[in-house]
Amino acid sequence: MTDSKYFTTTKKGEIFELKAELNSDKKEKKKEAVKKVIASMTVGKDVSALFPDVVNCMQTDNLELKKLVYLYLMNYAKSQPDMAIMAVNTFVKDCEDPNPLIRALAVRTMGCIRVDKITEYLCEPLRKCLKDEDPYVRKTAAVCVAKLHDINAQLVEDQGFLDTLKDLISDSNPMVVANAVAALSEIAESHPSSDLLDLNPQSINKLLTALNECTEWGQIFILDCLANYTPKDDREAQSICERVTPRLSHANSAVVLSAVKVLMKFMEMLSKDLDYYGTLLKKLAPPLVTLLSAEPELQYVALRNINLIVQKRPEILKHEMKVFFVKYNDPIYVKLEKLDIMIRLASQANIAQVLAELKEYATEVDVDFVRKAVRAIGRCAIKVEQSAERCVSTLLDLIQTKVNYVVQEAIVVIKDIFRKYPNKYESVIATLCENLDSLDEPEARAAMIWIVGEYAERIDNADELLESFLEGFHDESTQVQLQLLTAIVKLFLKKPTETQELVQQVLSLATQDSDNPDLRDRGYIYWRLLSTDPVAAKEVVLAEKPLISEETDLIEPTLLDELICYIGTLASVYHKPPSAFVEGGRGVVHKSLPPRTASSESTESPETAPAGAPPGEQPDVIPTQGDLLGDLLNLDLGPPVSGPPLATSSVQMGAVDLLGGGLDSLIGGTNFAAPPTAAAPASLGAPIGSGLSDLFDLTSGVGSLSGSYVAPKAVWLPAMKAKGLEISGTFTRQVGAISMDLQLTNKALQVMTDFAIQFNRNSFGLAPAAPLQVHAPLSPNQTVEISLPLNTVGSVMKMEPLNNLQAVSSRLQSSNVFTIAKRNVEAQDMLYQSLRLTNGIWVLAELRIQPGNPNLTLSLKCRAPEVSQHVYQAYETILKN
């Protein structure tokens, strides 16, 4: 008798028949009926109507039947919450069953039933099961706490389950420990700030002990948890590494990758001079290579991770080029990844081998793979100068094959080779021109046009060639149109006499007949340049181009560091931070590599201490809502943390320099606002991109904190003018509320009393939210600090010019600046930001930053031009501070 027959019942009136069978007296018949119900459920039929009948079968001593009923309950309880209550009694009873398998089954199933009323009843049995004498029940109960937390987090906290769960980390059974760790890690993810996983050397030691004893899956949970720990110094990091390295020989690739993650992360803390550092590097290579003999899907995950590891620490695998050679039978996804890694590992030492392989691949059949191989040859030429010649001749050979996509790909890379080695390989242009007609992809056409324009003086019939492209100008893609426009202008500047007509034709096509603003703008610029100052035009259009960089497709360093923290996970497969593909608040904790700390520094926590922030105040990860640029407008999420005094900012800079990779976490950790970060890239010489993303990472997470930029108090009222009372003050914004911080100093000889404050009507509508309170009389030479809360409900009066309160605007911007977009144009970073003043004036700003150049260019757009002056000033104060 087989079970497959249950899948085939499709009669009418089936539900009715099943109902009858479920209520049958015969046990066997009942069981058959439940099986049929489950089979229907699997194929997607709605059998929820049978709910009461199925639940009636629950009270049985037949474990198989019980499991089936439970399975049904998990699926349909949510749709029938009232009826689900009927099952509660059986659950509670089963939780007391003498058989541990049944106790565990009951608590496991109960946690899967997401009905509020049931969860209330779950608490008591769960509490008992967490302390059950049988480890099997305890390990099931540990996971159940995570389930319950997912349904009702508050309940779990109120019932004190979290503490019980923490106690289970010290359990004698390794599997209980592993499940408790998994549950706690998951719960901690939804409370990034809590100290749930209060990892300290003692608890770490327990975890490391359990690591040796638990199942392969348990080892993964524990290793993933260890990776979140930040050792206090390099000695601790080393000792953990030593205990984790044996895992590299585990047969389970996930255990190996998780171990690699821990090692890669903690390695960051070890000094490179250490012998152990070298040993560790050597130990990492063989297991990574072994991963490539696993199943193809696992190879794929491994290769995506190796791609990251090779970028972070190229030294690990630099001698292992051969293992990445593509095998004929590899699935295409493995082939493409291997190719990527081959290019990254290519060096002078192995280039001959690599090229021979790439040439082989270029004759394969899979179009994507072949394209990538051809492109790879070009990248080798750019990367390893000595091989350039050979690469170019290989590419020429490939062009001779006349395989359409190979030719196009080759032309695209040859363009890059020209950029890298100007005036060296131009002899091949003739060959390229022969293939002009076969190019049908925009990228290849654009590349070819670029080549023709760039070397117009050497190509006799350049004008004819370009003219042939011009015929179908409007059908071309923008990329080609732009390139064609530029190429013809270049040609005109080089051979003005013969091509006047051509240039006029293209300019009119671009400016008059095109709907594309980019194209039109470029057309007009050329037109004006050419008509007003041909010499300047020559300087602009034919300017010497900067060399292109060697490495392409590198992952941005901050992202790379973050991804290293996610080795083995989906994030490392997608090469994206979790926030890019995970919904909601879960898993968007921003992770970063630990900074290097020497053991001699007796610092509390490496994250906070060198930054000069109050110790113990920040968690080592900073909650950023969403992606760097994702959820910037969502402000009130970070916990209010008082920022460190501004005076330390210069010290800060020094620290940043030392910490390198830890830059991001460091600045994040200290909640510094704009000034230090904006200045940091210049002083650091670090990649400006990372600095910038940190900057706005900050604004997002920290915008609501008082730690954001506060201008130093300025003297508003000198003592001379006010009979001895000196007032200095500043405006701050704390958790969204504006307040005015005042410092009153009595410089007269008498005691002062009875202070009051009045706000004149102003353009921001600011008014005191509470009366000014200065309790004690102010005796001579005494100073008091007052913080006066303000609101913006006062009447707004537009003042000409907007003056007195400019201080406010500057303060407010610092926490009210939102970055809209960031992009990189020709080595300059462009930041687009929007500002909103409290009176509702919106300002759009474009900030242009050039690496290595301390000057920034700011352009503003605003409905109320009066404010722009102040915005400029504000930026200046913020950035120069």
Binding site: Y6, L63, E64, P98, N173, A251, E360
Partner: protein, 416 residues
């Protein structure tokens, strides 16, 4: 963690669907079918993201296994789990087929409930699972309390892979050293890459809880033991081999291997894979194929010579064995029953091609080879396998041990 697990047949019909997390809806089942199984183009990645939901899949003959999640899960773990799942199913009902899955769907649901809790993989050792998940269904009332707690202890215990109280009249164990030689050779006969991936498979029929210790001619160990055993090295021909890397079954104490490089363990009962290893140095390449302009090859052994797709007729002459053109496989297959050492054999063939206007190039697949030889091409030797059972007090002298070496071709290819 894993949010749900689905099993489909080749048509994309759901055979098993189990959802563990609330964030995975019923539509996920269909999303995978539409976007992956029924996708117009073959899916080019084992991980697919559809509407912020990630699908991991493996295909086992014509059965699709898919795990779904909305979180940043450990991807390596998910794939390891899916393969483990296949192992477990194979252990219960041999062949994984649509028929078998339908026949055992209750069992599979039971299993899924046990080995995955809220998406976290739990103990998945078949040895342990079989004690309490059976096709007949266990009847709780018949179990003694003793038995029950023994089950739970085993499932959660340190030695989850072996139960206590196993007895055999005759203690016996079999060791198979299985190696597959992988070779990629250029048409000029230059070795592009060669490695041996080996497995040591053990079949143990031992009573009680035996402590085992396995030794082989690993270079590091032999050097570590130093001059004391120098005579031993001189005795055994090829002294020691350099193992690039090895991985072990979870029964092996890894920390002990790391510190002393000794392989000690309590084996599961029956067959299991004790270790896997990889070597790249000093590999004995059993055969060499030297292709000439027309496909030519030399060397129980089989050479597969691919032919262009438009082949119409083939004439082959070979010195030894039989060669046949198989049109369905687009290859000339040359089989040789026996081949003596240090000998050379030759095949030559003429291929007639039909004129075609198909512009697609012929991919020129490499010449591949299948063979089996009775030695380990890496040179690995088992030096000892010590067994000691403290309670029953027997040792390796009382155990019948069998050792066998098999070298097989892995991907053994010569480009032409």
């Amino acid at each position: 963690m894993i949010g749900g697990l689905f099993i489909y047949n080749h048509k994309g019909e759901v055979l098993i669907s189990r959802v563990y997390r609330d964030d995975i809806g019923r539509n996920a089942v269909d999303a995978f079918r539409v976007n992956v199984i029924h996708a117009r183009q073959q899916v080019r990645s084992p991980v697919t993201n559809i509407a912020r939901t990630s699908f991991f899949h493996v295909k086992w003959s014509n059965i699709w296994l898919a795990a779904v999640t909305k979180q940043n899960v450990n991807a390596a773990m998910v794939f390891e789990f899916l393969y483990k799942m296949c192992d477990v199913m194979a252990a219960y009902f041999a062949k994984i087929s649509e028929e078998n899955i339908k026949n055992n769907f209750v069992l599979i649901y039971e299993m899924l409930d046990e080995i995955l809790d809220f998406g976290y993989p739990q103990n998945s050792e078949t040895g342990a699972l079989k004690t309490f998940i059976t096709q007949q269904g266990i009847k709780s009332q018949h179990q003694t309390k003793e038995e029950q707690s023994q089950i739970t202890r085993q499932v959660t215990g340190q030695i989850g892979w072996r139960r206590e109280g196993i007895t055999y009249r005759r203690n016996e164990l079999f060791l198979d050293v299985l190696e597959s030689v992988n070779l990629l050779m250029s048409p000029q006969g230059q070795v592009l890459s060669a490695h041996v991936s080996g497995r040591v498979v053990m079949k143990s029929y031992l009573s009680g809880m035996p402590e085992c210790k396995f030794g082989m001619n690993d270079k590091i160990v032999i050097e570590k033991q130093g001059r004391g055993t120098a005579d031993e090295t001189s005795k055994s021909g090829k002294q020691s081999i350099a193992i690039d890397d090895c991985t072990f079954h979870q029964c092996v104490r890894l920390s002990k291997f790391d510190s002393e490089r000794s392989i000690s363990f309590i084996p599961p009962d029956g067959e299991f894979e004790l270790m896997r290893y990889r070597t790249t140095k000093d590999i004995i390449l059993p055969f060499r194929v030297i292709p000439l302009v027309r496909e030519v090859g030399r060397t129980k052994l089989e050479v597969r010579i691919p032919t262009p797709l438009n082949t119409s007729g083939v004439q082959v002459i070979c010195m030894k064995g039989k060669a046949k053109y198989k049109a369905s496989e687009n290859a000339i297959v040359w089989k040789i029953k026996r081949m003596a050492g240090m000998k050379e054999s030759r095949i030559s063939g003429e291929i007639e091609l039909l004129p075609t206007n198909d512009k697609k190039k012929w991919a020129r697949p490499p010449i591949s080879m299948n063979f089996e030889v009775p030695f380990a091409p890496s040179g690995l030797k088992v030096r000892y396998l010590k067994v000691f059972e403290p309670k029953l007090n027997y040792s390796d002298h009382d155990v019948i041990e069998w050792v066998r070496y098999i070298g097989r071709s892995g991907i053994y290819e010569t480009r032409c």
